[in-house]
Symmetry: C2
DNA sequence: CTGAGCCTCTCTGTATACAGAAACGGTCGC
DNA sequence: GCGACCGTTTCTGTATACAGAGAGGCTCAG
């Protein structure tokens, strides 16, 4: 795709996700343009994309960083578990041997990342993302990726994972393995159930983590 | 919001939904700009929005009208029933008396529209849209509207409704009434069940309609 | 001292101009 | 006659210029 518009998109998204632009921050096109070293036009493009992904919201004229913390986190996880479970069920009826092998390889990477004495959270997150993305691809439904991009806030995933103890990390890996078995059996309801549990466990991990971290409490 | 960008959005969306721009059509910015009487800038904005809503897709450089007909229609309805049922369940726990009264009023309009000797499909569609929108609002979940906008293709709704016989129209009204009862009882599972059935019945109506309409068969 | 009105200033929305890339057609060589 | 290469044309991406709306501050009157 385009060069400048992608730079702007990545930069602004980074500002939001890193917390440098906290929720409620007014995003001024000119200021962002200067920061990205591009003109206002690609910045506008980037802001439209981010608006569609609900990272920013309009208030009157003018964009500001959306406050996802004010949202009902349980609702977010409920929607995500519903949609990802659906994706898993659909994938179960369509997945082929090659994709299953890829999933096993990805989960092997994930296990390797947490096997080290000090678990490599970054590698875990990357493998986890790849695992879910691969299942999404196997579901082969054009609209599912767009929907999930509205529901999966990477900061939430990261915060959740960073609070995982070793046992929780290992449980994640085990659930992934279980998911692969369900997919290999082409059993949609099994896959749905495992994925639902997987996401809902992540939800409770997130809530526990938030509760024990006063700075992050909403 | 802005004037020209909305004009462009409505115009282009209209072109797509009316079939004047069939799937696969290359959408040229300059051409659209001339057609809408605005410059390319608001047209670009409109195209970004439509891209986010999956009405158009990029291929390389250049946008073209997405081919939703190639999509798995059952999958679309499955997702929609899942999400709308969720919205109904959530609304059931939150709805207040005022909103319930509004829903009853809207459904009364709907019943009036189909009571006439020759049912007023246009009024039916409008009331139906308002009914679902009101429940969505009662669910009070910021992301649900964005998700549903990805799933509800108005041409599908219209084609389904136009094929409804009087009995199907009356069943729709009756299901709406049942939904209001479930919401009034603040019973999320009841509301979820009724909404699921409501959408799934619409799915079968759509399939039957498509099957009996060779020109529309995918 | 407070409130209202006006003025200014900034920011967005829109239009236009320019550059680069990709597609199309024509022509030349084989 | 067919294929490949090159030129042209067109379209998108980007930058900039301008106008209108809105917010904020300042001043003046009560």
């Amino acid at each position: 795709m385009s060069r400048a518009a992608d730079i702007a998109y990545a930069e602004i998204r980074g500002l939001i996700l890193s917390g440098q632009a906290p929720p409620g921050t007014r995003l001024k096109e000119e200021e962002l343009a200067a920061r990205c070293g591009v003109s206002r036009t690609p910045v506008r493009d980037a802001l439209r994309r981010l608006e569609g992904e609900l990272y920013v919201v309009r208030n009157g004229s003018g964009m500001q960083v959306a406050d996802w913390r004010a949202e009902d986190v349980e609702e977010l996880f409920a929607l995500r578990s519903m949609v990802e479970a659906h994706a898993a069920a659909r994938a179960a009826t369509r997945i082929d041997a090659e994709a299953l092998e890829e999933l096993r390889a990805i989960n092997a990477r994930l296990e390797a990342a947490i096997a080290r004495p000090s678990a490599d959270i970054q590698a875990f997150l990357e493998a986890n993302r790849a695992f879910h993305a691969r299942i999404l691809a196997a579901a082969a439904s054009p609209r599912l990726p767009a929907i999930l991009s509205l529901l999966v806030e990477q900061p939430v995933v990261r915060r959740t994972a960073q609070r995982y103890g070793r046992d929780a990390l290992e449980r994640s890996a085990a659930e992934h393995a279980e998911l692969v078995r369900a997919l290999a059996a082409h059993d949609p309801e099994w896959a749905r159930a495992v994925m639902t549990g997987h996401i809902r466990r992540a939800y409770h991990a997130f809530v526990d983590a938030s509760g024990s971290d006063p700075a992050r409490a909403t």
